[in-house]
Symmetry: D2
Subunit: 277 residues, 4 copies
């Protein structure tokens, strides 16, 4: 018997579709859809973020991402704008009509995020922060649960089980690369995780090729691979000036490069009979 229950395909045969409400048009994430989440690693300032959001909207993005509280390996790195950044994201949301996603690192941040944020992200480093998972399981908001840096598929689905067991079934999984011995790339995308999750679970799964590879040139090919393997979407980092980004510039696409990725992704989605919203 598998150790996970609510997350298993046996528990629920049909694919789960998570609906993200939005002012203009809601977004569906799950089997049969191809969803693109894009934005900078961190929200850095109002003008830049809102401009980028409008550009992204015009070139076909479904959900806006932006980091407010960044889990940085060093205590001395830029950790995000926090609450101030949330106001910027709210403004971008109003201007574009697109839903927004940001990472929650501590349940105490929920109070001020709740009314504005559309998807709460649990980052890799917190995938087994069981205290946070239990709290988030009680919230009525869609959750995106990133795979831990060296989590097995089973541990990942058991982390999902914590959220589902709390009552929150609006859950999306996100493969973001695992840690291996290979030094050329930041992490190694486990492309096989996509068909495996589809076999073992009913939950939607998307891929984050930016964090997984750490190199913007690889984001295109790995995104295409993800969609071709059956992923329900991708989450990519886009920055107007990657060289000046306060974090993760090396893995960020320019809006121009994003356009190319978008058209390639759409072509693959069509080949796989996936809808865009």
């Amino acid at each position: 018997m598998k150790p996970f229950r609510l997350a298993s395909r046996e528990y629920r045969k049909e694919d789960s579709i998570v609906i993200i409400p939005a002012t203009e048009e809601s977004v569906s994430i799950g089997e049969g859809y191809c969803t693109i989440i894009a934005g900078p690693c961190a929200v850095e300032n109002a003008d830049q973020y809102i401009d980028l959001a409008c550009t992204l909207k015009s070139v076909g993005v479904h959900i806006l991402r932006g980091g407010l509280f960044k889990p940085r390996t060093s205590p001395y790195s830029f950790k995000g704008l926090g609450i101030e950044g949330l106001e910027i994201m709210e403004e971008a949301k109003k201007k574009t009509g697109l839903p927004i996603i940001t990472e929650i690192m501590d349940i105490r941040e929920l109070d001020f995020m709740y009314n504005t944020v559309d998807i709460l992200q649990i980052g890799s480093r917190n995938m087994q922060n069981f205290s946070l998972l239990e709290e988030i399981g009680k919230v009525d908001k869609p959750i995106l649960l990133k795979r831990g840096l060296s989590a097995t598929i089973e541990e990942w689905l058991l982390a999902a089980e914590y959220v589902l067991n709390g009552g929150n079934t609006n859950l999306i999984l996100c493969e973001r690369g695992i840690r291996t011995f290979e030094p050329y790339t930041r992490n190694t995308v486990d492309i096989g995780a996509i068909p495996l999750i589809k076999e073992l679970s009913h939950l939607p799964i998307i891929v984050d090729p930016s964090h997984a590879t750490g190199k913007w040139k690889m984001v295109g090919p790995v995104s295409r691979a993800a969609i071709a393997a059956g992923a329900d979407g991708i989450m990519v980092e886009v920055h107007p000036e990657p060289d000046r980004a306060l974090s993760d510039g090396k893995q960020s696409l320019t809006p121009e490069n994003y356009k190319k990725l978008y058209s390639e992704t759409i072509a693959l989605a069509k080949l796989g009979n996936k809808k865009l919203k």
Copy 2:
């Protein structure tokens, strides 16, 4: 330049010694000492824990361990007795005069742990729970920081940096095995981490051979290796009846096996000119 500062050997040339106050006799952890922490994975009931504590005291243990809130991979596993268990540990502490250590998973647990617990443990899964690290950095209690399952030495020292940067310098590192491809053992003890940490940092380092190997027969040899390599102590799981343990029975020593380990460890400590308290 190394990315960690306060944790570095450059910042502080002499070895840090962490003093754990105790009713009878305080315990010193750091270079020149050999400290043994022992106890069951989880506190299961009062009689069993207090009996075991008294036995351990009589066969030479310096600090008592016991889990109250267990970070379990599955939401359906036994998660510990919580507050109720703390009262049991407090009773054991009174009877034996030994200091106690337990894991803190959420800063909200600090309130009731503060007066009783002598060392707060940050578990592997929370090594990069930066929110918790920042809070714990403000607390005036010794901290034991376990290495993450796949954390590099640098990431581990940067997690330590979070705690030190908050002002709490009573910090002990604990190597507990890293995740590799090898399926025979639960994890692979990184024995080289001991001389590396001693070279890069002034912080004390101990080893947990129980979690690292997952097999009680390996606890003895790996403990000896740790002390021979220069570790400042070990933390081992002991259970009166390992076969009936609610968690981690396979890696627990019986009190009888512990005695053998103790005498071997003491012999090695003497050979390395290490004091016992």
Copy 3:
């Protein structure tokens, strides 16, 4: 400076195309082409192999694979038919007009392989058998060099360098999964290796999803991912009765499942403007 020279993109800007001569029509492997190599893990008997070869020819395979000398982890496992199997492959080659590939484990096998085999494969376990690489570098036959189980991209390209340095430039790389901590799959396909090799080197790269995943259900999705990421082809295991295969049955496709894979692969190849021969 990169440690590899002849394998580098700097040494040769244009993509290398390896031409495999064949009685009917030669096969080109490299950028702009999509090549499919298929067949059973090991040649088991004449009727079965020749029947399968004819079936594969009819459903669109470009090169036939078949193991004669199998590098088995245990000395007690089936090790292949050896020379006897070669005669069977030769017969299949005559009947179908397709070129054949098989693994060479020892340079002493070259004598009887030379006249019949069209591509010599160096297996993962021999990727750093430098003695064999040096010998194979002197041979005027196309070589397929599989990535070692835990070889970095750099080590792999340096193994290629051994072959190129010997004078043999008809070299194809094959990603076949790397060893990680994940137990669900046999290995983890490093999908990022495809764009990385394309950036660093001029050599063709194909993917073996059968060995990489160890599960036939994953072969389709991972093959699609490989082609979408830019691989120049795939090598898959097909067996008429996977349940009765003497080796690797669990990862083998039936001819029926192969047909589905073929049409999906072809559709993706067209989308990526790749020719089929």
Copy 4:
């Protein structure tokens, strides 16, 4: 049932002791003994090697090591002196009366090694070169089989099984570090492999801390750990001038540092009731 037979503890309950004949006094390797093998990574020139051999003899080495054919990752690195170097080793053997060990990469090297070399080493990269293992299984010479870079304990014992199955039972295992994600050290010593091998098999096991760590400062602590964990010996690199070594200088001890290591190792061996020859 375990997949290995002849290598298993079930097949042979008592510990195997491998006797290395020598002009002066034979050397026993196995449970109850502590054997030290030392020498430079590669034999570089006659004067240097013979001088070093005499020094090592005077400070307590049991077996001399020296590389003749080096398996180098790059084809452009120094690959050893080959046959010429063997004459130098032979001279050192005569002068010191110590047995010698060197790596065999290709069975064709056996002819000229056979009369001089006392232990043939199979390197990590050839641990699954089954062709070589089968040949070496027929030879009546002691074999030292290094663990592959990412070989599991089971795969290692199955490689040993190839040698034993050929009839050669004079087999010694050598743990030399496995590949993990940690970048600070070259490899990660799997210290737990020592008690595991002792439990699963009757074969002797030694540890190579030089290749395993890649840093000479770690060689001492890791050697001590190995002996304390129950290893039957160590194999270390010593070079008169590490900074000028043609290979592996960073991990080589000076003869002066070796002396310190020797006395520490001897003290631990005595504590563990191990004889020195």
